[in-house]
């Protein structure tokens, strides 16, 4: 695995050209997140269950030079990771649907040991949410990003405020409005 110290540099560059830096970061984060997710998602033991937060944090630790990164760099990193997580899950969801059409439908056991979940139903649900979220972004990019960070990145409201450069209250309001619009778009 190659060292990627440039992740830190990309984060430091964010204030200058945010979109370009995000675009450059995304594939790096995507690969690492994807790799770790596959290894760890199903390996949680009782005391050390890996959730989205821990997953992203681990990727962050691996990719970013802590001595140079600042707190708001970390928030930005999480925002990128949220985007990467979204892409990863959407990729899987699409694959899942393709497999369903091909008649090959694996069952996955939940960690609770309680039951089996139909991954296809989840895939469908996720793709619907994703499509609505994309639609929302054309109406109001900030609303979409709040939901993306919140849901796919498991970020706290104050972290999102840091990324968007707004108040926590605005994040909270945006979240409410985003949900209303999404509900509208999905039922419309």
């Amino acid at each position: 695995m190659p060292a990627t110290p440039d992740v830190t540099q990309l984060l430091l560059d964010i204030p200058d050209d945010r979109d370009a830096a995000y675009e450059a970061l995304l594939p790096l984060v995507y690969d690492e997140l994807h790799r770790i997710a596959r290894i760890q998602l199903h390996r949680g033991s009782a005391g050390d269950t890996l959730n989205a937060t821990a997953l992203v944090h681990e990727v962050y630790l691996r990719l970013v030079d802590q001595t140079r990164a600042q707190w708001n760099d970390r928030a930005h990193f999480y925002a990128v990771a949220a985007k990467a997580m979204r892409r990863i899950l959407i990729d899987y969801a699409r694959r899942q649907k393709a497999q369903k059409r091909g008649g090959n439908q694996p069952n996955v056991t939940l960690e609770e040991g309680l039951g089996r979940v139909d991954p296809w139903a989840r895939a469908d649900e996720l793709l619907s949410l994703d499509a609505a979220l994309t639609q929302l972004a054309t109406l109001d990019a900030r609303l979409a990003q709040v939901i993306e960070c919140r849901f796919f990145g498991d970020m706290q409201q104050d972290e999102i405020a840091e990324v968007l450069g707004c108040s926590v209250r605005t994040v909270r309001r945006s979240e409410t409005k985003a949900r209303l619009l999404l509900q509208d778009l999905m039922s419309g």
């Binding site: 290894i39 972290e159 840091e162």
Partner: protein, 878 residues
């Protein structure tokens, strides 16, 4: 859910921008104000209609994207193939296999590739990259660590950077078990455990002498070899990595947004992100000793609520080890070797004090060093007096006051009045013979003061500020009383009782300690039949009941009743309330209604002799009504009496009256008058909303009951969005009530439609509910099992019988801890397990279980269940 397809472009960016301005304002308004606002500000009828439609979706909208992303990720992301080794060789070592994985790195077993030695090593490869500067410091520190040579410390043999610049450590390979596992598997006695622990202290002492702090002591870092030799791993590595300031353990928890992964062993200063010193290692040794001796950790930290975990670590006192062991359920790994009763006696006194000394919040008040702790333990083993002294309530009171700075104005005046009055009376009390009466007078004064701060006593609009100040006054005054009346133990006892009662009434986290202190004083100084001794027993019983130890609570309350019945000074109020308490304990134990009614009737008969107890008569009527089935003839009269009394003596809209209407609703429903029942229930909801505010936990609790009624009266579809709304409000609460969240999840799960999506969500909800109950109530509470049984019902219906059997097996591992073998829930669980076994084709064992359960139902004459049995037996006959 179908693919998303927008069927018309209702929203464009421009149009949304206009709508957004309206929505922004409307979100803060209620329905009427919204109409008025739109009348005034929106002339575009089409836009207005769309905005109104948008806002109408608030309940459903709140549920969008509320699940954990893992809910989707787990079923979608396939399991990875076995992780390949990232490097074949590092330096002269060849990696063999991964043997551990933690927050900071992965550990591999490795051996020398050049065959120079037959040597196995452990190599830890760190997950992070370090800057050149950090690396230089890292190398310097590494050399210090390499000099640590102690038989109980796994040696750091080598270190460096991988080809891609990740730091790695080569450590002595230790073949051992975590110390807690070892102690359990070997069935070690308390003395053996202490001797093992002293070995740990000795290693820590050696490292401290060499200026190395561990900072991450926990069982997985403290192994015991098959020869019984302790080996500490990872010494100083936490510190090395902390140079980069990324270690989750040391990221300040209180800093917003920081990630904190292993809270159980974190010291208060680590939680706060303060300086880490050798005292932090002493604290972690205290946690380890606690776990070694009791099988529990000092704090039961919620998994998901890290601010709550921080608060618990920073603000609450751990239970004494001797108390903790009485709560460990049999089967907990670390304690099966030791008998709880004997263990409790063994821990009481010295060991309690020593463990709690190591665990003190303030670093300077712990043992000064690991060596001091080890020496004190050795003194204890040798039968010598120990150095540690119990933490005094007075000390904690001072700290409490320091934490909660005094307010100004009225609050300060109240404080001074309390101190002045108590002090003046106490001064006199030293000079007169009947000091007891004087102290009582001071207490009466202060009791009045505290009643006014405790909302349950009727004054509703005290500010928080006053409330806190009253606590301060209470604790300061008690402090003074203790200091000045140390030679008058009876007065001290009375004061301790007053402090304890009031702290308990205020729900203060130090109440348990205060009650224990009071209990100790009464044990030492009071006649067991005295009012003081009885009072202390009552509150000890309450604590046990609140902690779920109903058997112990019952036996203490039985003592209270016995002594009060034989004491001339027992009042109507005391005895009746003891009867009522006993009935309450029976309720929690799930005993039959007749048992409870025996005590309720005794209590109500006593209360009726004095009209000042009208409110208590009402409470017990309500409790009795609660215990009766809704169609019991006696019930409606009890409920109506309750409401009549409360409407007479309580302010309008008081929550108690609301509760009466709730019961009345249930009675009317049972009589078949659904419309009237739902109307009463709606009235209850409205009154609670008015009394508490709509997002209050109690208000939400009754909203859920209302939705339950809708559901059980055929209005399932209506109930679902209400349940979702309640759930989302409960989850957003400042301090989420896990039990209520779990209960709402159960209600919602039951109300979902029987469709594939509904069933999938239902099973998820049951699983989450069970996990939340486990967090809130401990692993063996019957509530953990209820959602498992519900899930088993669903799985059985879906024909997924093997999973249904597994779910009932898990439930049956829990239920016998708290329920008797003939409890309906336990029997039903066995019934479900039997049918699932039969459905799964396990005929012989299923048939035997079914017959056994059904015979029990028949013997107990449970008509409904017998009918259910007959149906099942018919289905699985042949």
């Amino acid at each position: 859910m179908n693919d998303f397809r927008p069927h018309r472009m209702k929203w464009t960016p421009e149009r949304w921008k206009r709508a957004d301005a309206l929505v922004e304002a409307l979100l803060d308004l209620d329905a009427d104000a919204r109409t008025a606002y739109l009348d005034a500000h929106c002339t575009d009828a089409g836009l207005r209609a769309d905005v109104e439609a948008l806002l109408a979706q608030e309940p459903e909208a709140r549920t969008l994207f509320q699940q954990d992303v893992r809910h989707f990720a787990l079923p979608l992301v396939p399991d990875a193939p076995e992780a390949a080794l990232p490097y074949e060789q590092i330096g002269p070592y060849r990696l063999v296999e991964a043997i551990g994985r933690g927050g900071m790195g992965t550990v591999y077993r490795a051996e020398r590739a050049d065959g120079a030695f037959e040597q196995q090593v452990a190599i830890k490869i760190v997950h992070q990259y370090l800057s050149a500067d950090t690396l230089r410091r890292f190398h310097a520190e590494r050399h210090i660590l390499a000099r640590l040579q102690h038989p109980s410390i796994a040696r750091l043999l080598d270190g460096g950077q991988t080809s891609d610049d990740r730091p790695f450590f080569v450590l002595e390979y230790v073949d051992g078990q975590p110390i807690t596992t070892y102690a359990e598997r070997q069935g070690l006695s308390v003395d053996d455990r202490l001797n093992l622990f002293i070995q740990v202290c000795e290693a820590v002492r050696y490292a401290h002498q060499n200026l190395v702090v561990h900072r991450d002591l926990k069982p997985s870092n403290i192994l015991v070899t098959p020869e019984g030799r302790v080996k500490l791993l990872d010494f100083g590595i936490a510190k090395l990595l902390d140079e980069g300031e990324v270690l989750p353990m040391t990221a300040p928890l209180t800093q917003e947004g920081s990630r904190w992964l292993t809270p159980d062993y974190a010291s208060p200063e680590q939680v706060k992100g303060e300086a880490i010193t050798t005292a932090s290692d002493v604290y972690q040794l205290g946690v380890l000793l606690y776990e070694l001796l009791t099988g529990r950790r000092p704090y039961q930290l919620p998994e998901r609520l890290r601010h709550e975990a921080a608060r618990i670590i920073l603000e609450t006192q751990p239970e004494r080890p001797s108390t903790a062991v009485t709560k460990v359920q049999t089967g907990t790994p670390t304690t099966t070797a030791l008998d709880p009763t004997r263990l409790r006696r063994r821990l009481q006194g010295d060991l309690d004090v020593m463990v709690l000394t190591a665990l003190r919040k303030e670093p300077t008040r712990r043992y000064a060093s690991a060596e001091a702790l080890a020496l004190d333990l050795q003194r204890h083993l040798d039968g010598l007096p120990v150095q540690a002294r119990p933490d005094s309530l007075g000390y904690r009171a001072r700290k409490f006051v320091q934490r909660n700075r005094l307010g100004v104005g009225v609050a300060a005046v109240i404080l001074l009045a309390a101190l002045g009055a108590a002090g003046a009376i106490l001064d006199q009390s030293r000079q007169v013979r009947d000091e007891r009466d004087r102290a009582e007078a001071a207490l009466a004064f202060m009791n009045e003061l505290f009643k006014s701060a405790n909302p349950e006593h009727g004054v509703e609009d005290e500010t928080n500020r006053t409330d806190v100040t009253v606590r301060e006054a209470l604790q300061l005054a008690s402090n003074r009383v203790q200091r000045e009346l140390g030679d008058q133990p009876m007065v001290q006892t009375t004061v301790a009782g007053m402090v304890a009662r009031n702290l308990y009434g205020l729900g203060d986290s130090t109440a348990a300690d205060a009650i224990a202190y009071w209990g100790d004083l009464t044990d030492q100084h009071a006649d067991p039949f005295s009012k003081d001794a009885r009072g202390a027993l009552i509150f000890r019983s309450h604590l046990l009941r609140n902690a779920g130890d109903y058997a112990a609570a019952e036996s203490l309350m039985a003592m209270v009743i016995d002594r009060a019945e034989r004491s001339a000074d027992a009042t109507v109020g005391e005895l009746a309330s003891a009867y009522n308490d006993m009935a309450g304990i029976y309720f929690y134990q799930g005993r039959p209604a007749e048992d409870r009614f025996r005590y309720y009737r005794k209590a109500i008969a006593l209360y009726r002799t004095d009209s000042t107890y009208a409110g208590d008569v009402a409470t017990i009527s309500a409790n009795m009504a609660d215990a009766l089935p809704h169609d019991a003839p006696e019930k409606e009269a009890l409920v109506r009496e309750t409401i009549a009394i409360w409407e007479r003596i309580r302010p309008a809209d008081h929550p108690d009256i609301a509760l009466g209407y709730y019961h009345l609703a249930r009675v009317e429903m049972a009589k078949g008058d659904t419309a009237l029942g739902l109307a009463y229930s709606a009235r209850n909801v409205a009154m609670n909303d008015a009394a508490y505010g709509a997002d209050n936990n109690t208000a939400l609790f009754f909203k859920r009951r209302h939705a339950d009624l809708l559901y059980s009266n055929g209005r399932r579809a209506e109930s679902v969005p209400i349940f979702r709304d309640i759930l989302s409000q409960q989850q957003q609460a400042e301090v989420p009530d896990l039990t209520e969240i779990a209960s709402t999840m159960q209600s919602l799960a039951k109300a979902l439609p029987q469709t594939p999506a509904g069933d999938a969500e239902r099973l998820d909800l049951f699983a989450s509910a069970s996990a939340l109950f486990r967090d809130a109530k401990g692993p063996n509470d019957y509530r953990v099992a209820v959602p498992l049984v519900s899930a088993a019902n669903t799985l059985h219906r879906l024909g997924r019988n093997a999973e249904a059997v597994a779910a009932t097996d898990r439930a049956m591992a829990i239920l016998p801890h708290t329920l008797g073998p003939e409890h309906d829930l336990l029997l039903f669980t066995r019934f479900r397990r039997a049918t699932a076994l039969l459905g799964d084709g396990q005929r012989a064992v299923g048939q035997a279980e079914l017959t056994d359960v059904c015979d029990t139902f028949a013997r107990l004459e449970r008509t409904d269940q017998v009918a259910m049995c007959e149906e099942a037996q018919a289905e699985y006959a042949d």
